[in-house]
């Protein structure tokens, strides 16, 4: 009975993730799709917790559910398409897309058939996580070994923010500046 509860939790999370992602893909209404995606991200954060990654679960909720989805929701509200509910939401070649996805599943399942669980090689064991915490282990690796990548990602986010602002400023302003 010891190992039963984690399995039940995992199966619940797996079912909810697959069902909500199917709802996101097939939903006509973009607002409903964004809200189903919120449910999906919250369950995925719980999935990270079952993998002993508490810090990543927090980042998942703060960044994805808090920032990215709100951005999506704003854009959906800005682009108000009443006709969306009446027309086809799939392209004419959607059976081909379904075939490609099923083929992807079959091929990857063939590749996964001989999968063997890897042996632990690093220092991020569950005992170490329980002792010092996931955030501390991750932060140590981030600010020593991967410090250059960390700084580069900061610059990348700055460039993305500036790019979004520059792209969406009004066309009239560009004419006024004589560009």
């Amino acid at each position: 009975m010891e190992g039963l509860l984690p399995k039940i939790v995992f199966i619940y999370l797996a079912v909810v993730l697959v069902v909500t992602s199917l709802l996101v893909v097939t939903n006509r209404n973009a607002v409903h799709a964004v809200l189903w995606m919120l449910v999906m991200f919250l369950h995925q954060a719980v999935l990270f917790i079952t993998l002993d990654a508490e810090f990543l679960a927090a980042v998942q909720i703060i960044v994805y559910a808090g920032a990215v989805l709100v951005l999506f929701l704003f854009v959906v509200y800005m682009i108000n398409l009443r006709t969306e509910l009446k027309i086809h939401n799939f392209t004419v070649f959607w059976p081909a897309a379904l075939f490609v996805s099923v083929a992807l599943v079959i091929l990857a399942a063939q590749a996964l058939k001989d999968f063997r669980a890897p042996q632990p090689v690093g220092d991020m064991t569950p005992e170490a996580i329980a002792r010092v915490g996931h955030a501390k282990l991750l932060g140590k690796a981030l600010f020593t070994e991967h410090i250059l990548s960390f700084e580069t990602v900061g610059v990348l986010l700055l460039v993305a923010v500036l790019g979004a602002v520059v792209l969406t400023r009004r066309i009239r302003m560009i004419r006024g500046e004589g560009l």
Partner: protein, 100 residues
């Protein structure tokens, strides 16, 4: 402990659903959301394998993927807004004026 292979099977299905949506949907916003689904499937795979290997690099990589996905969503949605301003259209199969 749940075996790592269970996570891999789950994320395989999630990735396939995201790929199907990206190819088959007409709405550009939903296509961007399908990209997020695929990125999240890969994130779960990396964390599961990182737990199996007890290695820090996978978790660091997931951290960076989340940051890059946020940047990608910002730029992609800015492009969608720009496209909508210019053409009043966000359905991918309606664009027939691309050069190249």
């Amino acid at each position: 402990m749940i075996p790592v292979s269970w996570y891999l099977v789950l994320t395989l299905f999630l990735f396939a659903i995201g790929a199907f949506g990206f190819i088959a949907r007409r709405n550009v916003i939903i296509m961007l959301m399908c990209i997020e689904i695929m990125l999240n499937a890969v994130n779960v795979t990396l964390v599961a394998l990182g737990r199996g290997l007890a290695h820090t690099t996978a978790h660091v990589l997931v951290f960076f993927i989340i940051a890059v996905a946020a940047a990608e969503a910002a730029i992609g949605l800015a492009l969608v807004v720009l496209l909508f301003k210019k053409t009043r259209e966000i359905h991918m199969d309606e664009f027939r004026t691309l050069k190249g």
